[in-house]
Amino acid sequence: MSVTRRQFIKWTGASVAIAGASGCASVSGRKTVGRVVVIGAGYGGATAAKYIRMWSPDIEVTLVEREAEFISCPLSNRVLGGVWELKELTRDYGRLSARHGVRLVRDEAVAVDPVAREVRLRSGATLEYDRLVVSPGVDLLYDEIPGLAEPSARDRVLHAWKAGPQTVALRKQLEAMRNGGVYAITVPRSPYRCPPGPYERACQIAFYFKMHKPRSKVLILDANDDVQSKKALFTKAWAERYPGIVEYRPLSTLVDVDVATLTAKLDFEDVRADVLNVVPPQRAGTIAKDAGLITANGRWCEVDFLTYESLAVRNIHVLGDSVMAAPQMPKSGHMANQHGKVCAAAIIALLHGEAPNGKPMVTNTCYSFVSDKDVVHVASVHAYDASQKTMVVVPGASGVSSSANELEGEYAESWGRNIWDDMLG
């Protein structure tokens, strides 16, 4: 993503504001109790940065993010359905500095030295920390798909699993597709980012086809043995709203892709598509791997759920999709927001020499649009279980919508505005 002049001014302006803010702090004589560096300004990292500053202004927080603006993955399937544009999912980071005194650094973290407690940035600069928060999201494992090894191949066969230019490009492919064509999406084995995401995407694209290209098909090629989230609600939506459009095929593991013919090579058959959308297998972001934080299956980072501190490296906390999740804890933006707050409170306690809360709670609410207006949710409340040292769903405190409905469509839009404000505002 190129940097516009406006964005450049915004980001440099932010660091000037910080210099001013820290000047005030020293004039008032308030002592800084510690320095926190946060890598990644998504649902996890931005929330942690804001909440540390909001709850404890005596801690310095530096937030490192390589993108100029925040673009939400949750709700981004609506762009593919033609209901929303990317700008409705886009927010700037300015209030984190102006209102909360977070120091924003537009750069990429490329190395962590846990002994010197230092983060090295792409620009060559280094940042020292007392506590480091790593919230890089997922990296996509293209090395498992030989046909997509070349970056040019990935411009043709998109993932659109990180909202942004890929989302817009996939929408353009769908617009250019002939009526009667086939859109196929491959779903990796769980766990992956956003369990209901592939199925919501199928609904959104089927909604678009039904309106504009009714002879077209949506084919879901799922490596898993069944729909991974809200199964009854999605299955009902496909059967009743999009009959003859959506087809679901379980146990369809992608082995390779032939980009020239847009063919998904599965373990037992080849499937040709007009628009092929491959959601690759995933692991914790590269900086988590390089920092030695990945401890589970070569993919995910185990943490202490009281603090989100890595089980492998002291003074480094991991949030969001990169975390080796507790049972029934989805890799969702909402969950990352919750991790961010528990972690913020724990870091504040630790830097003040106090014990973190021994009974943290987190919740999840994921809304999926099955049409332009109708929505289904899955929700859960998780409490810390000291004997198992993990988060467990409180008995009875989970469930899904009784049926798709428009009221929850309004709640879903309100959810977006509120959670983006909760992390950035």
Binding site: N337, Q338, T363, A379, S380, S401, Y411
Partner: protein, 101 residues
């Protein structure tokens, strides 16, 4: 032990609850933050999801009880309400009651 410490001790035992003191209840502040992904920071919402900042503690407690026992219709709150104990709901409600609407 000062009067404030005694009050806080009584609060933590659930004997006394006071919105004015709730801001000191860091455990409850953390639990309340589980609500604010949907209801907005400190309970201030925009759009269809109701704001809960500044609502009387007794109202929030009553609504949560009605969500939990099913006497109030809900889309998602009947599921969330079952996740918290009575003590937690009291203290979370005290936190939101003490916030500026």
């Amino acid at each position: 032990m000062g009067a404030r410490a005694i009050l806080l001790a009584l609060m933590s035992l659930g004997i006394v609850s006071s919105p004015a003191l709730a801001a000191e209840d860091l455990e409850a502040r953390g639990w309340a933050a589980t609500c604010t992904g949907c209801h907005g920071t400190n309970g201030r919402s925009t759009g269809k999801i109701p704001s809960i900042a500044g609502r009387p503690q007794s109202d929030i407690v009553r609504l949560m009880r009605e969500f939990r026992d099913g006497s109030r219709a809900a889309t998602v709150m009947h599921q969330h309400a079952k996740g918290y104990s009575d003590d937690q709901v009291e203290r979370i409600a005290a936190f939101f009651a003490a916030q500026k609407p």
